[in-house]
């Protein structure tokens, strides 16, 4: 899953004068910010709260630095509040057909209680949002979308639903959307996540492999648990009814689990090669350009009927004008907005969309888009990235930067 574009504005991935960075990191958040059900829980646990996607969210907790917090998720486990994200249910006899119209995914062939990364596309094939869709049955889906895209997504769903339900598809009954307002959503991530959660449930978690979900009894609560996450580690995303969110979060955040904020969330997802909507994805970028062509279902590339299909087919035929690549940058970390150049001609060939000094690798990693033709998108290609007016050597590398450690079975 993806964080929202506002991370850039509120947490500051780009270059800025020190005073501007500090202002953005200020602890006092405007009062109009929304709060997740865990807001007071975060404050009680020493969180530094920052504005993010219209919510007041924890950046970090207590004295735990971002690097230590990041490493803790890689070596032990961390708990993230992702309750700002939008959780929705889609139900109705043609729910599969409706969501296959809105996305390029093959949802009819998806097994029940299985999730897939997908994208909502505009008419041109540009990405409105990235999303994780979980199929419970042909007529029941659970969909998680980005907080930063809430208004755009909900309006899009509303309009397309009205269109769908007014047509012949709805002869046997309409498709309905229910937004799970104020529900909790937490992500338990890291190599110790499974053993920690297993101690709280009789459900055999070895049955719940990566991409699967189930209602799992956890200390008296029956919670929707999806195996996966946004860190590249093994882990779970757990949906919680509003009344129990604090209690469940308390249960899930005892040693060795550490509460983990947005700062580490961003560095973990970038090491895992995952996109952040608003930085790495936008409405002018197609899934083919973003390297997410694999979300397009088998058989749907050629003949699938979905919004944006024509745009994707044109690109499949003629090729993409740009492509997302991974970069390792020498000398200084390149951040979003840094220009990528052909070192031979010093012509600009692309732009960095996210970049950090990787806590795990000790190298400056980045992702960005490079235009097609010229061979710069190939692994091993040497390019240059401009940071603070100087050209820095950079090499195109495969992603993820840190190998994923998903649980695919014993």
């Amino acid at each position: 899953m993806a964080l929202s574009p506002l991370l850039r504005a509120s947490v500051g991935l780009r270059r800025a004068p020190l005073h501007a960075s500090l202002r953005r990191l200020a602890t006092s958040a405007p009062s109009e910010l929304k709060r997740t059900g865990l807001h007071d829980f975060h404050v009680e646990n020493g969180a530094k709260m920052v504005p993010f996607a219209g919510y007041s969210m924890p950046l970090a907790y207590g004295d735990v630095g971002q690097v230590a917090s990041h490493q803790h998720v890689r070596t032990d486990a961390g708990l993230f509040d992702v309750g700002h994200m939008v959780q929705s249910n889609f139900r109705g006899p043609t729910a599969t057909g409706f969501l296959e119209w809105l996305t390029p995914s093959s949802l009819s062939s998806l097994k029940p209680y299985t999730s897939t990364l997908s994208v909502l596309l505009n008419e041109r094939g540009g990405i409105i949002d990235d999303t994780v869709i979980t199929k419970h049955a042909e007529d029941a889906f659970y969909v998680v979308t980005n907080a930063g895209r809430r208004e755009r997504d909900l309006e899009w769903f509303k309009q397309r639903l009205a269109e769908w339900n007014a047509g012949e598809h709805a002869a046997n009954g309409p498709v309905e959307m229910e937004v799970l307002e104020n529900w909790g959503l937490v992500a338990l991530q890291g190599p110790k996540a499974a053993s920690y959660l297993q101690a709280l449930t009789a459900y055999d978690l070895t049955q719940l492999t990566f991409g699967k979900s189930a209602f799992v009894p956890i200390e008296g609560f029956n919670l929707h648990v999806a195996r996966g996450g946004y860190t590249g580690e093994d882990g779970f995303e757990i949906s919680i009814p509003p009344a129990h969110t604090v209690e469940v979060a308390t249960l899930l955040s005892k040693s060795p689990v550490q509460l983990t904020g947005l700062g580490a969330r961003d560095s973990l997802r970038l090491e895992a090669g995952m996109c952040l909507y608003g930085s790495d994805l936008d409405e002018d970028t197609t899934p083919l350009e973003a390297g997410l062509g694999w979300v397009i279902g088998k058989g749907r590339k050629e003949s699938g009927v979905f919004i944006g299909a024509e745009g994707l087919r044109a690109q499949l035929k003629e090729g993409v004008p740009k492509r997302r690549v991974g970069l390792v940058v020498q000398g200084a970390p390149a951040r979003g907005g840094a220009k990528i150049f052909d070192p031979a001609t010093e012509q600009q060939i692309g732009t960095v969309t996210s970049g950090i000094p990787s806590p795990t690798l000790g190298q400056n990693i980045a992702m960005g888009y490079i235009k097609s033709g010229g061979g710069w998108q190939k692994k091993g290609a040497q390019v240059a990235v401009e940071v603070r007016g100087k050209m820095r050597e950079a090499k195109v590398v495969g992603m993820p930067f840190v190998p994923a450690k998903y649980f695919r079975g014993v």
Binding site: R15, P17, L18, H19, G263, I356, P357, N364, R388
Partner: protein, 156 residues
């Protein structure tokens, strides 16, 4: 947070004057006066009038707000800078913060320790984690900067 130099040195000079009022004038003239001033960019410069050098650092408040510093980029020794020029950057995992020359002059030295140990900026931002020393061409620019009290008030 307060510098040892600022706290201790003027006081000891004062004590010396009181205890030994007939110290030869030449000795008094050779004393150094160290002043420290702050900028809105959360930098500090400590000016030693004996050497004409201004030692530039980020403030303790800045380091604690930025979190773990993992990379520092410093200017090349010998570079001539004008007050306000961007001369480097301090980077945490999440953000890059530009460093500006708080005063004009020539970069006389940079803190080489920071390339191997950027964490010094968190441990000792205003002493061991100093960034660079500028041979000041306009020492009067110090007067345009904030006193410690004014700086503390500016963000508190």
């Amino acid at each position: 947070m307060q510098s040892i130099l600022r706290g201790a040195r003027p006081a000891s000079v004062l004590r010396a004057q009181i205890a030994r009022p007939r110290v030869p004038r030449a000795v008094l003239l050779s004393r150094t006066l160290v002043t420290k001033r702050y900028t809105v960019e959360h930098e500090a410069v400590e000016y030693d009038d004996a050497t004409g050098l201004g030692m530039v650092c980020i403030t303790d408040h800045a380091q604690s707000s930025l979190g773990d510093v993992v990379f520092v980029e410093l200017p090349a020794v010998g570079t001539t800078v004008e007050k306000g020029d961007q001369i480097g950057a301090v980077e945490s995992v999440k953000a890059a913060s530009d460093i500006y020359a708080p005063v004009s002059g020539t970069i006389e030295a940079v803190n080489e320790e920071l390339s191997g140990q950027p964490g010094l900026l968190n441990k000792s931002p205003e002493e061991k984690g100093w960034l660079c020393k500028i041979k000041m061409s306009k020492p009067e620019e110090m007067e345009e900067l904030m006193t410690e009290e004014a700086y503390q008030d500016s963000w508190a």
